[in-house]
Symmetry: C2
């Protein structure tokens, strides 16, 4: 369970679907093995979040897939190394993940969905800025692809806080709280 | 559930502990993040098997760790590309995994524990010779290491058949049956 003190602050939650061998997409970004379980409560899930963070590659993969990246009821932030807001009007471009997270935490609101990919998760986790890791484990072994946590990374220790089995697809949703925060959290401004 | 027909034959079961990101050991073979849950029923587990298969690297890692590779009540087979029985008296060296599995299946006995590593699993799975994949998911993200299924591999589709949560360590044991057998099973001799 997340402790009460942290609950008063918006949490940064890395929520992804991954294969049993730890890939969030195929070698070319494909996600054709992601199963959408009919029991999945999307509305309930979405109602816990009002903000999405994603890295540039994930954003570009979503755009390339034709889905766009505006999501109803969500403010979407995309992390670029270089600032180029003018080309991307439906999202907010940001170039400093640490500062962005500090800003989000300092504001009231729902939790923040760290949408991916693995590089942005790694970057934030190594700064101690990720609260939970929530993986829907898909029953497949692609053997290669985009890792849930790409190397080089320091080890991240987790504590299991919840699980749910989706019997129709064999998806196993696992919820963890990040245990070892390598750096102190940034102070609220 | 495994179908009744297959149950009459000894099953080849890939049973491993892995991190949430799909590694069965660290980059240098280390397994220091493997948690042994006090609730784990080792005797019950071991009683289902009488034979162990492992690859050369796994065997050498066990020897290097000082554990030896004789296991009470188990016949241990190690797959080498070249035959060198004389150096390894406590195990049986074999150089043809496909023929060995056909031989084991043709004999009465308990199930066969495919102990690892990932390369032997891949080799057997691509020949349609692995019945189940049973992963104890450890709550850690090392970010690198020895993969549960190393590339290059064809995709392996699974069906969830069981799960167990070990609350003390947060280990999640997941059991799957392999779905897509890429090649026909070898005939019994």
């Amino acid at each position: 369970m997340v402790d009460g003190a942290r609950r008063t602050t918006r949490r940064i939650r890395y929520v992804v679907a991954a294969s049993l061998d730890g890939f969030i997409a195929g070698p070319n970004g494909e996600a054709d093995w992601i199963l959408i379980d009919p029991e999945l409560d999307f509305d309930g899930f979405n109602s816990r979040f009002d903000t999405i963070l994603m890295g540039r590659r994930t954003y570009e993969a979503m755009k390339a897939a034709g889905g766009g990246s505006s999501m109803p009821g969500m403010e979407v932030f995309v992390l670029f190394r270089t600032f180029q807001q003018e080309d991307h009007r439906e999202v907010t471009i940001h170039d400093d993940p640490e500062r962005l997270v500090a800003e989000l935490r300092s504001q009231p609101g729902k939790d923040v969905w760290l949408f991916g990919g693995g590089s942005l998760f790694r970057s934030l986790a190594q700064r101690g800025l990720v609260d939970t890791v929530e993986v829907a484990v898909i029953p497949v072994l692609p053997g290669d692809g985009v890792p849930v946590l790409p190397p080089p990374s320091t080890r991240i220790t987790l504590a299991l806080t919840g699980h749910k089995i989706y019997a129709k697809t064999g998806t196993v949703a696992l919820e963890y709280v990040v245990q070892d925060r390598r750096r102190t959290r940034p102070r609220r401004t």
